[in-house]
Symmetry: C2
Subunit: 164 residues, 2 copies
Amino acid sequence: MTERDAEGQALDLRLIRVMRNMASALFGSLERDIDSYGLSAETFQILELLYNKGPHPIQKISDKFSIPSGSITYVVDKLEKKGYVERLPIPGDRRKTNVTLTGEGRSYFDNIFPKHAQTISDNLSFATDEEKLELIAVLKKIGYGISDRQGKGNENENRSDPLS
Amino acid sequence: MTERDAEGQALDLRLIRVMRNMASALFGSLERDIDSYGLSAETFQILELLYNKGPHPIQKISDKFSIPSGSITYVVDKLEKKGYVERLPIPGDRRKTNVTLTGEGRSYFDNIFPKHAQTISDNLSFATDEEKLELIAVLKKIGYGISDRQGKGNENENRSDPLS
DNA sequence: TTAGGATATTAATTCGTCAAGATACAAAAA
DNA sequence: TTTTTGTATCTTGACGAATTAATATCCTAA
């Protein structure tokens, strides 16, 4: 990789520091919000996935969120104990298990999601819509760049739902 | 807090998703780099602090990085066992303990920091300098906004080294 | 059939946090 | 003064959360 001159490097270090602080303030705030619903950021995202895209095999969830295979059982167990999801066998392949939202899980998410979305908007209210569009464009470019450079084995991934 | 219309809300959700994915790609990449030096993101940042700003009392470090008081002992222990830092009493207050870089810690950091800085530049190379400056401005604004709203008890913090 | 891989769980372990405790300082009361 | 009360600092030990490595079951293709 090409080396940067001292000045450019200093700019990069400044940017990474601002990013770290912003991320810590923003995601910290969102995590506290999610915590108030009795969930973790991780379990919230899993519920969100099931809510928006229906049942998923355990392994898909594990992949999507980079949760180790040994941990995903533990995580799904917790959600199952709370009554928000259930495990269902997948016909045709008895190795797989589908995770699906229960009625209770759905209505709980119906309840908390709008609140959380409002918290997100509150936290992002310090930028204008124009700035937000600019952020989306640039941050996407960076995220893509990094993921593509790494993912030398994932070329066939869903590019219509980028970075998802 | 004022509520957003559906369209604005959708923009916010888009932005937060892009931010999450970007952060996970970027910080994941940086963490893997740091991991290759046998450190965690947290311990790396502590070494960086001691390197740039000299010895710090344990409690300052604990505060700065929001590490619980029970955990900071554990973290400093690990760095001490590796020989990178040592604990020294602070004259005048026997409750406090200073954490300082050892010679070994300093030369180790001398060695790894330039490598890590290069990794940072590599990961940020997908944005132009102009875009980076724009990012710094907007992300700072968001980070400030969130921190200031929360920190109703921290008005007296160091604003010349913002969000640090 | 059999060999190899995919999927999920279990058990052991590691990691980090919390609550409680030990010590020291500082300020107010006696 | 000295005593008391409250607070700050750090560590300890018990605990829970999350990961790893090993295991059980199942599928696919040679």
